[in-house]
């Protein structure tokens, strides 16, 4: 992928990610998150991970965002009115986040491999669904089944939690 496209999609992801946090209206936040995830999916595809990019769009931009928008609609959540802002807590939160960012950037700066470009591939990876599927059903069969049980438990838990108490 050309550097130009990389920086466009990286900027798209980061700017709309920031819009999620900065928007007062939860609906605008959810729609910004969709755009951010689409940019992230393009970044995944630039790394030759086509399957991960596709499930990113299907699961996040499709399923998870519809769930978020549905809950926002169901609870009828309005934009936050201008409540008293606790400036001390806000400055503390931004300070901790900035310290975290600086720490990660220092680690990346001292990481020798981070300066190298990506090695070339032997061939195109458009068949990576086959490779990931073979790995998933051979080497990672037990974790795969445990994940299935986890999703089942989550489904039962959601049904139990959202059931109205009988009076």
């Amino acid at each position: 992928m050309s550097p130009f496209l990389f920086w466009i999609f990286a900027a798209l992801t980061v700017i709309f990610g920031a819009a999620v946090v900065l928007n007062r209206n939860p609906v605008a936040s959810a729609l910004s998150l969709v755009v951010s995830f689409l940019g992230l999916s393009a970044l995944f595809m630039s790394l030759d991970a086509f399957f991960v990019g596709i499930i990113q769009v299907l699961v996040y931009a499709g399923a998870v965002m519809v769930l978020f928008l549905f809950i926002i609609m169901l609870l009828d959540i309005r934009a936050e009115e201008g409540r008293r802002v606790n400036w001390l807590a806000g400055a503390g939160g931004i300070g901790v986040a900035l310290i975290l960012l600086i720490q990660i950037c220092v680690v990346i700066k001292h990481f020798q491999s981070a300066r190298r470009i990506f090695p070339p591939l032997a061939r195109s990876t458009t068949d990576d669904v086959w490779n990931i599927g073979a790995l998933l059903f051979n080497n990672y069969n037990l974790p795969f089944q445990i994940i299935g049980v986890l999703v089942l438990v989550a489904t039962i838990g959601v049904v139990l939690l959202s059931r109205r108490e009988p009076r």
């Binding site: 939860p26 991960v52 499930i55 609870l75 080497n139 989550a154 959202s162």
Partner: protein, 106 residues
């Protein structure tokens, strides 16, 4: 050319935005969305490392992409349970603001 470090920096910035969202916002729905941002930032660095570690077959390291698949699955289950908790909380208290939930405050 784009190096591994560029992807890692984008991932770090995205993670920090999500972290700041969890620290600063008081609306529970936006906090859940910020959690998703943090999980996806971790996924981005995982996929970058997967592409960086080309094996003897000349293909990316697919073990990492299987791990990303698991992360996405668990994140989807987490969102479903989190939103169900939010609905239960809204029924009990008619609020989604974390500043209004003080029952456990000492």
């Amino acid at each position: 050319m784009i190096t591994l470090g560029d992807y890692l920096v984008v991932s770090a910035v995205l993670f920090t935005i999500g972290f700041a969202g969890v620290m600063l916002r008081r609306n529970l729905i936006v906090i859940l969305m910020s959690l998703e941002l943090m999980l996806n930032a971790a996924n981005l660095s995982l996929v970058a490392f997967s592409r960086f570690r080309v094996g003897v077959s000349g293909l990316p390291d697919y073990n990492t992409q299987v791990f990303v698949f698991f992360v996405i699955t668990v994140a989807a289950a987490e969102v479903a349970v989190g939103l169900a908790l939010l609905v239960a909380l809204y029924r009990a208290r008619q609020t989604t603001d974390v500043a209004d939930i003080t029952s456990l405050k000492f």
